[in-house]
Symmetry: C2
Subunit: 448 residues, 2 copies
Amino acid sequence: MEVSLEKNAPHRVVIVGGGFGGLYTAKALKKANVNVTLIDKRNFHLFQPLLYQVATGTLSPADISAPLRSVFSKSKNTKVLLGEVNDIDPKAQQVILGDEVVPYDTLIVATGVNHSYFGKDNWKEFAPGLKTVEDAIEMRRQIFSAFEAAEKETDPEKRRALLTFVIVGGGPTGVELSGAIAELAYQTLTEDFRSINTSEARILLLQGGDRILPHISPELSKVAAESLQKLGVAVYTNTRVTNIEGNIVTFKQGDELTEITSKTILWAAGVQGSPMGKALAKSTGVECDRSGRVIVEPDLSIKGYNNIFVVGDLGNFSHQNGKPLPGVAPVAKQQGEYVAKLIKRRLKGETLPEFRYNDVGTLAMIGQNLAVVDLGLVKLKGFIAWLFWLVIHIYFLIEFDTKVVVAIQWGWNYITRNRRSRLITGRDGFVEGKTVNKRVQQPSGTPL
Amino acid sequence: MEVSLEKNAPHRVVIVGGGFGGLYTAKALKKANVNVTLIDKRNFHLFQPLLYQVATGTLSPADISAPLRSVFSKSKNTKVLLGEVNDIDPKAQQVILGDEVVPYDTLIVATGVNHSYFGKDNWKEFAPGLKTVEDAIEMRRQIFSAFEAAEKETDPEKRRALLTFVIVGGGPTGVELSGAIAELAYQTLTEDFRSINTSEARILLLQGGDRILPHISPELSKVAAESLQKLGVAVYTNTRVTNIEGNIVTFKQGDELTEITSKTILWAAGVQGSPMGKALAKSTGVECDRSGRVIVEPDLSIKGYNNIFVVGDLGNFSHQNGKPLPGVAPVAKQQGEYVAKLIKRRLKGETLPEFRYNDVGTLAMIGQNLAVVDLGLVKLKGFIAWLFWLVIHIYFLIEFDTKVVVAIQWGWNYITRNRRSRLITGRDGFVEGKTVNKRVQQPSGTPL
């Protein structure tokens, strides 16, 4: 259908998802003569690239979150709605939100991706992933509880299992997690325990491909692997996990099968499109790729519906170089801003050339003083890369009022090499499998 | 029994509880020739006086917590043990920790107090209290979810109930909670919603006695009440809550019964000694008062056992002015330091005069720019009192490395009048009673 410009009522834009894609779409529409409704099931935007720092006790959830309402409190054309969208009706131009419907003229779907266990969903309970604040707090609980339990454990076998950390997946999250855990075990916690020597901890990073951080240049991924090894992380490439059950990870290098007993197995491997992808396919007939991401047109709309757009991780945009754009914040940001611009142009009866991603480069944090930055021509490593990483992330956080505090906190943690946010909370404050603080009557637990 | 000084092995001090009492006892023993074992069921010390700021979205749990291990990492004579002590064996001089026992020469019990619903434990599920991080996160969830649900509610009756907040108890916690919620509703959130006017929120503070903050001077408690009313809090004194069920609070003023429907009822009234009090009474025959606090001797030991001490809120010390000392941090701190000194004296074969509390005065925060400080001769109110309150609390936090960040955060929130930590988390991120983010498989929720 064509967007009807005859209406006097302002054009209704509905955005589903408050991640980077949805957030920047709404931001870019602040001054446009449209009514924006931003729908998310959480009341805050989460700065996901820093979630691993919550999982490893450096930052608090609130440090990397911004309440959606406060982000948009000044943009009076924007309404924030809390709720979960299960389906849409493209004919009636409505999104279905529980038992109510929200009508739209233009719809932007930006619900992102979830973990994928490659069909082995039974692995999930043994190897939690890292997408939500709850995930991060649960990981934090497991990591620090493992050290606590080891301090009490007298059986050397069990103690070894408690001090063994296996991270599955050598992308940015896996690299950042294993680096941070190595710093914990070999630097932060060394003085803190009396019965165990935390330096005896083993940290294994398992990567299916032939190198970690496959999305950056080979030489930098080599640098990253070397830096991780210097930190004490055992990096396994060409390694396929064949099974995860209880405390046992089984993985294969070539024909060699290895079994590792580890109390803390963390999942940083696959992702799959969020359920909205399927819902879209069902209601609009649009195609999804193997990992459930929606195939989008050159202008980020979907086939047959030029008023429905998919931005961010949920979309598969392959028009630029044949293969899908990576699921990173800059892509989501640029796509959101593009769609906002396209809507404004259309309302003026104008058009916009198709979307082009301006690759700003990729970077990954390995540890304090250690990072890799690939800007194409310019490649940075070590301290300068770390500093660059810091600046970039703080710059990103500038959108939110969290930046100052987070900057201070980083600086502070950097000087003190301390991790303040080491709280073992929720799940009745797990202690050695025993349930404690029974007094909390409410279903205890809740992040941060 | 007498402490045997003949042993060559260092004197074994066991401290149960990592609150103010236990923490300061252990700190004061850092350089003593004793082996200290500090047992707590959480891995962090919690700065409880600021817990209400977590519950109202100003601070994160980690901002007011210090990992016990990092507090004592440098004191090599101190061992931190995670676990819950259920009982002690005074004859064998052992504390029972699950299935293991920890022997002591001197025992300090500092397990504090819990909520008391005056025997009406069924009220608990409708009116959560504020003692643990989990409590605070649950309160935060309820408070901000109420505004969110109100934004979606079309029925004026229900909307009114959602925007009604009842705080039971006019002590410091109740005053600070109601003041903070008033600032939320009438200042912080006014711009954030589109369908509701948060200024229509009703905040009721119910106090049984004839004035709030009964522990400070009448004129200051009058100032506090007036400041709260200026902020928009309806202060009810001489008001007894007769029933709490579902969303309905029933209270009595004189003979007049009133029923209020409120979705958010918060409990800040009574406290009772933690279970260790009963355990002590059972095993040592020591007496407890009506609220389950242990009657202590002038030197804070318990009758018949001069090597068992009770410090902090759990103890009832009435030797100074006939009535028990208040359950505040300064009392716990001074008592902990006193017992540490007494132990050191005893090891030298010396004695120490009985404990005396040096009252440093009392203070309560009402809101930004509003506090009351009662130093006996000097009484402060308004901005100067608020500043004083801030300085005192930051000074207290100096013990932990959190002070800088918290100071910055306060400053920042003060300037921006913003509340960053407004995350609705855990309990599957409650949205309007509907369960969302189903993808979180682990028992979702966990602070921090």
